[in-house]
């Protein structure tokens, strides 16, 4: 998949711009605060009709303007799609159109293979369990609207159940009050756990391979899924998970009442990165931790390329964070994507040598919400 054309109207700090792209690498250069991330936000918005930074629609509108409007052409599954996304501040109305037709459910999102890489992702290994869970959910939700739906229902149920537990009414009615929610925790929770287990085991296989190839390290990398069933979950079907879950949730009832919140379920899961069999969060160097994340990103890109089609890869600010050696390994990943958007503040020699090898690349210079210059390195000239 790639983006062929993008026009922005009143989007973040862009008043009006129209840009043509080609497959390959698109380098977005500019000083801090000029609009590089905002351009990536627009690219993401075109594919998913929502913000990747979870910004509110009203925050996407250029200050003091009444609306924003994005229009673009995507190449996906051997076809071109004309996509329009916009938001009207006064009417508080969001519109999303595909090939001129208004869609209430933005189905295109399910088919768009997009992987993005943000500076905070680099710290995934050393951050808290909540951030790792959020990462996992973000990535899976992006390709599965069913998963996103299960997750939002599940979270609602946990929120409702926690309210009952918080009130701490110790009478014999309490079980009757809790069970209708537990039943749904088990139903939605088992499906969430099952999906996470499936996704993690595919990530795991490729990521381990990538780690050994990219970093030629003798330590073996492994991602472990921590959940109430342990490793058994990898071989279990949904029914089996449901059965175990419904048995175990009864056992924690007393403890939950005492503590005042839900103790069992996917909202407590985590993932552990192991390097050479040891928890990377506790024992690996900062650089090794980041390498593990790069290996994981590579796996995600490869999975898309294997399954449907080569993905779009968005990297914001990641390169400035990496040393020469990891930068070079990261460049290797770019080859597996159909189109790459990457932002930098300054060009450097390492990047130059990569761009020379790249089959096709274009270069945008961003200043104060304007695209100042565009040129490409030849084979596929981009004109604005």
């Amino acid at each position: 998949m790639y983006i062929k054309e993008l026009s922005l109207k009143n989007f973040r700090n862009y008043e009006q711009e129209k840009i043509h792209f080609s497959p390959g690498t698109c380098l977005i250069q500019g000083a801090n605060g000029q609009g590089k991330s905002n351009l990536l936000e627009a690219v993401y918005n075109l594919c998913f009709a929502r913000s990747f930074r979870n910004l509110k629609e009203s925050d996407l509108v250029y200050w003091n303007k009444p609306f924003y409007y994005l229009q673009g052409t995507l190449y996906l599954q051997n076809r071109f799609f004309k996509v329009e996304v916009g938001y009207d501040l006064l009417k508080k109305r969001k519109v999303a159109k595909i090939n001129g037709r208004t869609t209430r459910q933005f189905r295109l999102a399910e088919y768009c293979p997009v992987v993005f890489f943000l500076p905070e992702d680099l710290e995934l290994v050393r951050r808290g369990p909540e951030e790792r869970r959020r990462y996992l959910d973000r990535e899976i939700s992006q390709e599965s609207t069913l998963y996103a739906d299960l997750l939002s229902r599940y979270n609602r149920v946990v929120y409702q159940k926690n309210q009952i537990l918080k009130e701490k009414r110790h009478n014999n009615e309490i079980q009757k009050l809790i069970r209708p929610w537990n039943r749904q925790i088990v139903y939605f929770g088992s499906r969430i756990i099952h999906k996470r287990a499936q996704v993690l085991s595919t990530w795991n296989k490729l990521a381990a391979h990538n780690y050994s190839v990219l970093f030629q390290n003798d330590q073996e990398m492994k991602i472990v899924y921590n959940n109430f069933m342990g490793e058994d979950v990898l071989f279990a079907g949904i029914e089996e998970i449901e059965e175990k879950f419904s048995n175990e949730i009864v056992l924690v009832e007393k403890e939950e009442l005492k503590r005042g919140f839900s103790l069992l379920g996917p909202h407590r899961d985590d993932i552990t990165f192991l390097l050479g069999g040891r928890d990377a969060r506790r024992f690996a160097s900062h650089g090794q931790q980041r390498s593990a994340v790069i290996a994981l990103k590579a796996a995600q890109i490869q999975l898309y390329s294997e399954k449907k089609e080569k993905p779009l890869f968005i990297l914001d600010d990641v390169f400035s964070e990496l040393d020469e050696w990891r930068k070079q390994q990261c460049f290797l990943l770019l080859r597996d994507a159909e189109q790459v958007f990457l932002t930098i503040t300054k060009k450097d020699s390492c990047l130059d040598s990569f761009l020379e090898q790249a089959t096709c690349s274009s270069f945008l210079h961003v200043k104060e919400g304007k695209i100042l210059e565009i040129n490409s390195n030849g084979k596929n000239r981009t004109i604005c």
Partner: protein, 198 residues
């Protein structure tokens, strides 16, 4: 204050209605001021009287001006079937499909601990008293297909099961996350046909 106190008060009154924002409230207020005196008086009488006269049916908690609502008074209806709904408007939707010939019970909501709505607020004890009379042979739970509606269905099923009454659930055939109100008649009749035991 831009407008006189009386206008402000009227605007505030309209704003309390669901789906009415400040702009619409202002438009409605100005419209009322342009109406004939008698018209406005008739309108305010309609409001006051509806509020005073309409109450919950003592049997099914549907809205009515009498002790029993028209459905409960209708002798042609099948008293052995009882359909439990969240809102009075759900009855309208099911009645339009003309598939269901039994009686109803209206909960006026769904279980929602965070909003302080428990079984007592939904008058589930009243429902159980009704069922203990023994006339009802099958209960159909038609709460909304969302997490609160499902929790309510499971809770009622748990409470009714000891009475040995058959319990079925509709709502699965309806659009996911949608409310009964928006379902078309065809989906309702299909859902009624395909009701499932829980």
């Amino acid at each position: 204050m831009l407008f006189s106190p009386a206008i402000t008060r009227l605007v505030e009154a309209f704003r309390r209605l669901p789906g009415i924002g400040p702009k619409t409230a202002l438009r409605l207020a100005f419209f009322v001021l342009s109406m004939e005196n008698e018209e406005v008086e008739e309108m305010s009488r309609a409001l006051v009287e509806a509020r005073r006269r309409v109450k919950h049916c003592s049997r099914c908690r549907n809205l009515t001006e009498q002790e029993l609502c028209s459905i409960c008074r209708d002798s042609r209806r099948d008293n052995s079937l009882l359909c439990i709904v969240q809102e009075p408007r759900d009855i309208l939707v099911i009645e339009k499909s003309a598939q269901f010939k039994g009686q109803y019970f209206v909960l006026h909501g769904a279980l929602s601990p965070v909003e302080g709505i428990g079984p007592d607020e939904l008058k589930i004890p009243v429902l159980l008293e009704l069922l203990k009379k023994g006339e009802v042979k099958e209960v159909i739970i038609a709460t909304n297909p969302n997490v609160e509606g499902d929790a309510t269905a499971y809770y009622i099923a748990g409470a009714v099961r000891p009475l040995g009454i058959r319990i079925t659930r509709i709502g699965f055939g309806l659009p996911v996350g949608g409310d009964l109100e928006y379902a078309d008649e065809l989906t309702i009749s299909r859902a009624l046909e395909g009701r499932r035991e829980i």
